[in-house]
Amino acid sequence: MAEHQGLLPSERPLQLLDETGTPVDGSGLAMPDNRRLLEAYTSLVIGRRVNDQAGALVRQGRLAVYPSSHGQEACQTGAALALADGDWLFPTYRDTAAVIARGVDAVEVLTLLKGDWHAGYDPYAHNVAPQATPLATQLLHAVGVAHAARLRGEDTVVMALCGDGATSEGDFHEALNFAAVFKAPVVFFVQNNEYAISVPLARQSAAPSLAHKGVGYGVQGERVDGNDTAAVLAVLERAAESARSGGGPRLVEAHTYRMQAHTNADDDTRYRDSGEVDPWVERDPLTRMEKYLKRKRVLTKAKQAEITEAAEAVAAHMREGVAKDTDPEPAELFAHVFADPTPQLNEQAAFLADELSREGN
């Protein structure tokens, strides 16, 4: 077998559980243990609740907008759970559930969408970069964090998230290339949800799969069923361990589907039929994992109630935190442009303060 063929992804996405929650041959991929799967299921339920609650908060006018990962919770869960404490996560705007699963406070995450500031959480508190709005730019930052760690001899792994649309951006390709050349411990995790706002995958790429893009950079590509939480977790953990032990970067493509519109401001009836969405309901990552865990008697009624309660607590925290009327301080606008404001910024801050005082504020 030619060396490059080892870099090519499998013909079909890897799977551990089929749509009915029945175990299938994982082509050498090991099933995570029950404790781990229960942990993942808890995260799935919380992720779904976070998505639903955030959507409701938009409808109530409390959040400006929310790009939901409804239907992609297996990917959100896998990305967060595959990492160790010292590792880094580089999320996008659609990865709010992953950021919360990593431990960041849900209300702090929503600061951006609430409009109080741009990034509301401390990236160093949980090693979670600010959610990236420009596409693919964060992948290079992930390479930089990983390269710095490698130079210092640390065993940090960086999980860099993006969507199918972002694989068309130049920075996606530069990031894969840099990571491969420098053997940077990065797991590039593409959630292929079939749409970039309104543009379907076929207009994004003519490659056999997005994971095939790795071979051009000497990066191993892998494909996984993005709605199979067990498989996503297993593939990402394997990729992370490979990166951690000096194996360099890996490119993982999860095949999933964006169940809702791009954001609440989008009208997806203009570009897709509901008939296209319906089959994906059957493939819902929550029901699949639930069926498996119930059959294995790992998910008891008591445990289920406990998980629901935990998810409701997160939702209540979101409602309470977001409902609080906050009044961001205008003086702060000048405070963080530089470590120390320039004389010009001090003048402008004084100008605004004076304007506000004359308005009687």
């Binding site: 990034a119 401390d122 160093y124 290079l140 390479v143 930089g144 390269h147 050349v181 470590a339 004389p343």
Partner: protein, 329 residues
Amino acid sequence: MATEKLSMAQALNRALRDSLTEDPSVYVFGEDVGPLGGVFRITDGLTAEFGEDRCFDTPLAESGIVGMAVGMAMNGMRPVVEMQFDAFAYPAFEQIVSHVAKTRNRTRGRVGLPIVIRVPFAGGIGGVEHHCDSSEAYYAHTPGLKVVTPATPEDAYHLLREAIASPDPVVFMEPKKLYWAKEEVDFDHPAPPAMGKAVIRREGTDATLIAYGPSVPTALEAAEAAAQEGRSLQVVDVRSPVPFDDETVCAAVRSTGRAVVIAEASGYASVASEIVARVTERCFHSLAAPVRRVTGFDIPFPPPKLERYQLPGVDRILDAVDDLQWEDQ
């Protein structure tokens, strides 16, 4: 050793070497900066001396270079990256504008990015297209970036040391045509801060020439020529388009009452126009004449055989000085 005669290129090399020696978090990378030492030899010998972890070649992709620098800076390092030429830095524009400049503000001050982006810039070397742009206005217009440019070897050394030590990102614009100009450089005396500080290069009483980077020697030449004709011109070297030193520049203009701003970049929406606006707003009642500009025309940078028509020269500067309404005196 108190002083040593060095070219600007050698002074920059010395600054990188001293920063690499003193601060283990400094990393130098870019295209051809390793064994070759950079196309202008600014990184000459650094890989041999500090190893290929500290000074290394990257794949040929400017957005990749700057994007990786962002991540390294997030993770405790001080990257110093080289953009090979002014116009070759444009692929990195999104990384610079959307991330290098804004990350501190985005994160409420939690994530600062101490990155230096070195950009050899401007003309005067007979370079072909894409090698002679004066791109400083793009960066100066972007909140969150400091933009500095040395005009002498001594400033090159101290400004670069200061830029590397800065907690904020600095776009360090190096005037290519001055790389080989030599002067005595004093390393021993700690230099007063140059970022954010303009400096008077020549005293004068009749009018003030305001210039930066490659235009400073031209302004000094013009002042020398004017002196032969009995006119005393003061020369201010801005050094730091951002942050701008209003105090020094305005005090200078008030002392003479007349000013000409000189820059190679096209004049429309430029650093030069900003300086004229600031000086006019602040010094209006001290001015005997409108502040004039001598800048490049609003044309793409010309081919080598025509570049002399684009570059501010002594005659054009003296003509502008002649236009400063002396008849009212």
